[in-house]
């Protein structure tokens, strides 16, 4: 009797995990099969379950790693993920022999200029940790100062705790975390930090806290709170992308959307990126994304006038589709707003 096939029923894997199918033992009770046969059946059944579970999770991990590897650059992040994966695997093996296995503390600090992939990496890490069963849910809760800081005394702790509760089982991602330390002694931001520090200790293994921000501001933030830095075992620096990397990113983005650039356009983009590289307020990959999205719209505008279009034409981004002027204006406006928003 092959029970692995007979009992592949449609229950959820968690439910199936522990519940025994009593039917398995009917044969034994009736005296139809021997004990050894029954034991063999149990083993088959057990194996079929673990196979299903394991296949899923290893497949998932491979998929997520592939997604991560697709990101250009970020070598440091990739090595960290490999380290974490190996560590988790070893902890599992140690558990088999009942050796002491320490709970993983994976709180992190991300520093990097705008558009260097902090949020993207955080989201992928969430899914990865979930697949590795480090955290049960793996969702990402993105918050900023406004979500944490309250209006009156005592309100902040309450709001912060709420956000942390939401993030339990997943990742709490605090964007522009340095803004919590701004505003001097009487600012409520400090209260939010204190609450987070406490929660980090209380729910050490149940959620992952990631503080993200720009390098210079974060350095100041960490120097203001001496105990904070040591509580985060992992510091990741997201360096600015170089010209070639940005070009690769642009090509990848286009490829994912089933477009490609003409040679002229590539050259032009290269020139643009080279120039841009030296400027301040440059938002790295985000700039490239905006540029690409804009050029796709421009291409549509150019082609819609034509009556007939070939497949090639629909895929091609030409030199004249990539234009800079408008984008720059938008960007400047944004930075202006940002400046005011901070006050």
């Amino acid at each position: 009797m092959d029970f692995s096939k007979r009992f592949k029923v449609s229950k959820a894997p968690e439910e199936r995990d522990k519940k025994v199918d009593k039917r398995m033992f009917h044969g034994l009770e009736r005296g139809e099969i021997t004990v050894t046969q029954a034991l063999r059946n149990i083993k088959d059944y057990d194996k079929s379950i673990s196979d299903i579970n394991q296949e899923n999770s290893t497949e998932n991990i491979a998929l997520i790693l592939q997604e991560l590897n697709q990101l250009i650059g970020l070598e440091r992040v990739k090595t960290l993920v490999k380290e974490a994966e190996a560590y988790i695997e070893i902890q599992r093996r140690r558990q088999f022999y009942n050796l002491i296995n320490e709970p993983l503390v994976l709180h992190m600090i991300f520093t990097g200029n705008p558009g260097t992939g902090k949020t993207t990496v955080a989201r992928i890490l969430g899914e990865l940790f979930k697949a590795m069963k480090v955290i049960p849910k793996g969702h990402l809760v993105e918050v900023e100062r406004a979500d944490l800081v309250g209006e009156y005394i005592g309100h902040t702790a309450q709001r912060t705790r709420e956000q942390i509760k939401k993030a339990i089982g997943g990742i709490l991602f605090v964007d522009e975390a340095y803004s919590l330390a701004r505003g001097g002694q009487k600012d409520f931001g400090k209260e939010a930090i204190d609450t987070m520090v406490k929660a980090m200790e209380d729910y050490k293994t149940e959620f992952v806290l990631i503080l993200a921000g720009y390098p210079r501001e974060m350095a100041h933030f960490l120097s203001v709170n001496p105990g904070l830095k040591s509580r985060f075992p992992i510091h990741l620096d997201f360096p600015d992308y170089c010209q070639e990397e940005l070009l690769e990113i642009a090509e990848l983005m286009l490829k994912n959307r089933q477009y490609r650039m003409s040679e002229e356009a590539t050259l032009f983009l290269k020139g643009v990126l080279y120039e841009k590289d030296r400027r301040k307020n440059f938002s790295n990959a985000r700039f490239v994304r905006n540029l690409i999205e804009q050029s796709i719209r421009r291409q549509a505008l150019r082609l819609v006038k034509k009556k007939e279009t070939t497949r090639e034409e629909l895929m091609l981004i030409a030199r004249e589709d990539i234009r800079l002027e408008e984008l720059e204006e938008v960007e400047e406006e944004l930075t202006f707003e940002k400046l005011f928003g901070d006050w």
Binding site: K18, G31, V35
Partner: protein
């Protein structure tokens, strides 16, 4: 709350181990919860002496249902619970009595549900001096071992170590089963109980 199941062939000393282990942990009155094959529960309370008298014996299949003993112990400021389950002995082949067949099916059910499998074997039945490997496990024991090792928590209790003749060294046993958490115990004399205790405590 963790569920530890003592499983093994008939007459290897499972029930006596449970009683003496509970007594070793300082329980004066052992409260057994008997679960029969229909899932009904009965409660019995024995002192260790009476339990030994009524629940154990030389004939196989003295235990005919699951017998749970709940052990509470304190960890730091809190308390933790451990359920030690004694089961019907397994015997290969088809048993003529329906009652025993049902009880064995129940044992196998408990095996799948157990958090910690304590597999008990009898050293006096294992020793086979003619062969290079001193100790041979029967098919049913090998199956339990394979099953248990696939689950992460499994330990092998080699019982009746007091019957072991001196010329068979204990090291040899440990060598043969290297890689498996293994304890040499004696249900009668209480030898090896401290080691089992510390392992189980760590586990819970």
């Amino acid at each position: 709350m963790r569920n530890c199941l003592v499983i093994g062939k008939t007459n290897v000393g499972k029930t006596l181990f449970v009683i003496n282990f509970a007594a070793y942990l300082g329980i004066k009155k052992i409260r057994f919860t008997l679960v029969d094959s229909l899932g009904r529960q009965h409660f019995r309370e024995y002192t260790p002496e009476l339990a030994r008298k009524y629940l154990t014996g030389g004939k196989p299949h003295h235990t005919r249902c699951l017998q749970n003993v709940t052990i509470k112990f304190s960890v730091g400021k809190g308390q933790k619970k451990l359920i030690l389950t004694d089961s019907t002995g397994l015997k290969d082949g088809i048993h003529p009595k329906e009652e025993i067949r049902k009880a064995m099916a129940q044992t196998l059910g408990a095996l799948v549900e157990a958090d910690l499998i304590m597999h008990m074997v009898d050293i006096s039945q294992m020793a086979d001096l003619g062969q290079e490997n001193f100790f041979t496990l029967e098919l049913i024991d090998r199956q339990i071992m394979d099953f248990g090792r696939e689950r992460s928590s499994y330990l092998l209790l080699i019982n009746k170590i007091d019957l072991l003749q001196s010329h068979i060294s204990r090291e040899k046993i440990k060598q043969q089963f290297s890689g498996i958490p293994l304890f040499l115990v004696s249900s009668v004399t209480g030898e090896g109980f401290p080691e089992v205790k510390s392992y189980v405590w760590n586990f819970v």
